[in-house]
Every structure is written in C-alpha cells, then in structure tokens.
Assembly symmetry: C2
Homo-oligomer: 364 residues x 2
C-alpha cells in the first residue's frame, strides 16, 4: 500500500469537482455548527447579514489580491457554471456581431456552438483534427478585424493541453480559466473577461467567478435575464439574489490556504514540479505515453495512455486498489487522466509514479 | 437567558438562507472528510462518479417520495435561484403570448416584471394597495382565456402571507414555492410547474428545484441558453454540466431528517402549532400586532410590528441579546419578521413569545 493522505482519505485525481486542501476541509468541519461566534453555520446566515457580508467581502478582496486584479476590473460571484457563461458572454458582449473563438477542446467547442445563437462565430482555430493534442501558435490564429472579442479556454481539461502564451488580438480577450485559475500569475489587465467554474482550483461546485473589465458591461441584448446581465450584477455586487454562500465561504478558506502556500507563485512552482515529474516519467516509460505534445502540455490535467484500452482499464483498477482514484480519462478522450490541481500534494504524484512503475514492470 | 440550542447556537429566525436541522449539520460535519467510505468529501467527488450519482439519485427519489411527485412530472436540480427562473419560465413556456401573474408580494412582482421581456403579462391581481396583507379570493382573480400559464407565489416571505387555497385557472399553474415547499402536502398533479430556491426549507443556497409536467417542456425560444432549457435539462437529468453537488447532498440529508419527523404531514402539524402559538399571542398582545390578515397569514413568515419604528428596533436588539436573531423585517416592509421554517424547533417559538411578553410588560 502506498502512502495515503490522513483520515483514511484517498489520492483523488478527479478532473472536477476535485480534491480540496485537507486543512480547508478540517476548518470547515470545525466551523460547521458555529462560524466566527455567530451561533450558526455559514449555511444558515442571511446573505444580507453583516456576518455574511464580511465573509463575502473578504473572499472578494482575497481573490483580488491573490490574482492582482486591477481596479479597472470587477469580480462577480455567480451561479450556473461555465455553461451559463457560454450564453452570458455573447448575450452581453456580442451585440449580434462577430466574435472569434479558438476551438482547442471540448469546452471551447461548446462555447462556440452556444454563441451561434447570438451572433456570428468565427472559428479562429480548430485542433480537433489532431485530437486536440496541441495549442496553435499565434501565427496560426485566424483573426477577424473588428471582432467583438477573442474567446479561448486557457486549459483543456479533457485532452490535457494548456495555452503556453496569452494570445494577441485587437479585440478584448475572453478566457475560460476554469481549470487553471490560481495556478499561476496572470496579467489580468490584458483580459476583457476571465471566468472560471470554482470546482477545480477554488471551491466546491456551484460558484462561477467572473472578472470583467468594467467598460465592457452594459451592452446586453434586451432578452438577457436580469441575473445574466453583467451590468446588473456589478451594480448589485453579485447580490441581485441569494448567492451560493457556502461556496463563497469555502473559496475564502481556500484563499487563506493558498496564501500560506506562497500564493499563485507558490502554486506555479508546485504545479511545475508535480507535472514535470509525471511528464518526465511518461517520456521515459515503455508502457505509458503522454497524449499532449511538448510545448502544449497542461500542468493541471496530464493525459496519458498505453495504447491498449484493456490495459488502460487494468491500470485504472490497479491504481484504485492502491487508493489512487479517478484516473479514468474523459469518455470522449479515453485513456487516463491525472488531474493535478492546486490541492494535490506532491505525495500524490509520487504515489502515482510509483504505482505506474510497478504496473509497467509487470506488463512490458 | 432563555433556553438556547445546543453547541452555543442561537435561535435563528432568518428569512433565508435560514436555520437547518442541527442533526443534519452534525451529520455533514461527521462526513466532511470522508463520505460513505469514499475516502473524500462529497465536495471533492466527480459529479459523474458512481458515488455521487448514488447521492444525486437518492436525493431525487426522496424528494419525489416526500412530495408524492407523480411520474408525469420531472424533478430538476438547477442553479441561479428563483431569479433565474423568473426568466426561464417565460423563455420556456410563454411562446410570446400572454400569461397571467398574481402579484401578492415582492417576488411575484419581480417575476411579472422579468416576464415582460418575453411576452404579454396580464396582472391577475395586485395586492400592493393594502401592503400585501392578504391573498385575493378565487373570485377576485382576473383570468385571461387561453393564457399560457397562471403564475403565483405560494408564500410571500416579505409580507408574511400564504395562499390558503390552490387557485383554479384553465391554464397550467406555475408556482414559486421557495418559502413553503415541504411544509405541507401538495397535490403536485394540479401544477404545470413548481419551483423553489432551496435556502429556506430544503438546503443551503445555490440549489433551485424545479418540478415540471413533462408535456410543458420543449417550447423554449431560440435564444434560450442551453442550460435554461427545461427540455435539455430533463434529457440530461440536470447534468448538462456540474450541478451544485454539496447542496444536493445537503438536501438528501434534510430529506432523511424530514422523514424521521413524519414527512410533510409532520411538518404541517408542526408549522400550524408553531405559527398558531405566535399568532394567538399577537392577537392578544397590547404592544405587537400581526401585519397579515387572518385567512391569509403565512405559517412560515410571521410579520408583526409595534407601530413605532424605534420600539421595533429596541425589541429586535432586546431579542438578539437573548440569542433570538434575525427578527428584523425586510427593508421594504419594516417591523419584525419571525421566519418559522421546518427546522425551527418549537422551543424557538416559545423563547420568542416569552421574550416578547417580557418586552411588552416593560413597554406598555
């Protein structure tokens, strides 16, 4: 049996919802019945109460500080996941005109398809022909002059690629950072809009963070639901109605933990160390092969396979028997996927490599 | 000092998010690090994993059983709160035609206003003239022949009224039950669509339950976001994207507790006992007066006042000093409001009445 986490916990390589820092869960547990001397759980607080407003404001300020979000940009705490943003973005920003979409995986393809309801979608690139195993270079991007925005997904969770650069475009950049937000420093001022579902690097599922250049809000189509209008939500400080309070509280705890770990710089070091170890092993292995090409590889979601679906399945079972779980790849990609989000300790990666080596020894 | 709850907890009369059963919080605490032997928190589970699908399915089945939802109706677990449903309902059901809206309070007025974006709203009644202190009779409702649906809000959280009957209308009934769902038996077959934000009687904020007659789905307007299409969400069993997993888990725990308390029949007895005690005292008091008229009074949100705003404020402070918190009325209604949701124990109501009597003795 390889070393496991404490409290009879497994190493959880799920792509999302995914592992949370143990220290965060322990603190949530300790505060479950009575948070900050309020005599109640954070789940029982009126969202308009001073006690909750304090938690809400702290979470927002910690996020602003962690990501160094400039004052030009607003932070919104929303619901509905990336899928609701697939519609909210064109409803608010497209104005029935043209937007450029970089299709480098499953979720960017979905975003482009949803946007077709609201205007003209120009496909700036499409890597489906090569199984989305790489990110195009800047020169390969086809850009529309005067586009309303350029949309891309920073990290491809399904196929395991990550943009190694921030694309240049005359239009405002709109970026889905769901699976790599808070894993590295980002120059937010270069973006018109960044959004992320919380359930990978931030908090439990049910919270979507939007960071938007204030000047882009206020252009929504007349049929936009009030709660999907960025302008309205900015004006209401995300409290047009009851926000997902528990997730916001959990985000606040995660951001405390992140700070203790050295912030996004600390996370970037860790992710490079974690993924670097695993890719180095994959590039040497005679059994396992990485799917994504060097230069485009994700540090968050490492996809790999043996080339034999039965052997892949056998490995996944073998790893699970060792307490290494959720290594099965996305159904449309197959193979294996090890998601190495911020909360994955280096011990998890070491245990995985050790397990892969043992399996390789018995199957080559 | 009046008797308080255990674990240094207060009696929390918040209108929502609101008190949860202590036993539920204790169970969530116990399972925080490792639920059902999975080696992880429910917050860390892939929503597509067998372990989470089991929790999801159980929650849905328990809800179906508790509310006796017939097979003709689908249960959806959504995000975005009632406010997103204010738009989703007309986007899906209105077809640019006319719908009748009964305006008996703050949230039904907001729903009617949002629906104006998508078709013709006919106001079936409007009780704002009397401070929303009563529910109109069936004869008072102005109905449009051939309306797409009749919309009403079963319980008015802000002003403290509750429909004592299910209205008759040739059109499908659409009902916002956010603040009284699971507090009494309901003949679901009479409704085209029932929805409720979870944060009062069901679970923490971040989950919206929709119960819809299967035959009403599939008529959404072309600009409807995919995630707001009832047809799509029925087909995807609410899993087009990651659902609010923690809230669904909490709902499952709440439904176990509800069953132990005698289900919705048990809840109805309790709510009549709780609210009955408080209204009986209010009708006798020389200081405090109920806002809502007999016959229209809510068992969930009891609104009352002294008639003197300073005295109201003094009472709210006095009660808080005794561990009875969140008794301040909604800002647009003023006065006091005691929300007596399912999880409020009778001891809380007794402590409140005792505190009111003492305050009355010193101020009359």
């Amino acid at each position: 049996m390889v070393k496991t986490m404490t409290e009879d916990r497994v190493f959880n390589f799920s792509a999302g919802p995914s592992v949370l820092p143990e220290a965060v869960l322990q603190r949530a547990r300790a505060e479950m019945m009575n948070v900050r001397g309020s005599g109640m759980s954070v789940m029982e607080m009126s969202h308009r109460s001073p006690a909750f407003i304090e938690i809400f404001t702290e979470a927002k300020e910690k996020l602003r500080s962690s990501l160094r979000v400039p004052e030009s940009h607003e932070i919104l705490f929303l619901q509905g996941g990336a899928t609701l943003q697939f519609a909210a973005i064109p409803m608010n920003l497209m104005e029935e005109k043209t937007a450029d979409y970089a299709v480098t995986g499953n979720f960017s393809a979905k975003a482009a398809k949803e946007a077709e309801k609201y205007g003209t979608v120009h496909i700036a690139c499409d890597t489906s022909g090569s199984g989305h195993n790489r990110i195009p270079t800047q020169d390969e991007l086809s850009l529309t002059p005067g586009a309303q925005y350029f949309y891309y997904c920073a990290n491809n969770t399904v196929y395991g690629t990550e943009w190694p650069y921030v694309p240049e475009s005359g239009a405002p950049l709109v970026c889905d950072m769901s699976s790599d937000i808070l894993s590295r420093p980002v120059d937010v001022s270069r973006f018109g809009l960044i959004y992320a579902g919380a359930q990978k690097n931030m908090a439990p599922a049910g919270l979507t963070v939007v960071i938007i250049d204030r000047t882009l809000a206020g252009r929504e189509r007349p049929f936009t639901p009030q709660i999907m209008s960025y302008e309205t939500m900015i004006r209401q400080d995300s409290m047009l109605n009851t926000p997902p309070c528990w997730c916001i509280y959990m985000l606040s705890l995660v951001l405390d933990w992140l700070q203790e770990q050295g912030g996004v710089e600390g996370m970037e070091q860790l992710k490079k160390a974690r993924a670097g170890r695993l890719y180095a092993y994959l590039d040497e292995s005679r059994l396992f092969h990485a799917h994504a090409l060097p230069g485009s590889r994700s540090d968050m979601n490492v996809t790999f396979r043996t080339g034999d679906a039965d052997l892949d399945a056998a490995f996944i079972r073998f790893a699970a028997s060792r307490g290494l779980v959720n290594l099965k790849g996305h159904k449309i990609a197959g193979g294996m996927r090890a998601s190495l989000y911020n909360a994955m300790p280096m011990e998890g990666v070491e245990a995985l490599i050790e397990t892969m080596k043992e399996f390789e020894k018995n199957h080559v």
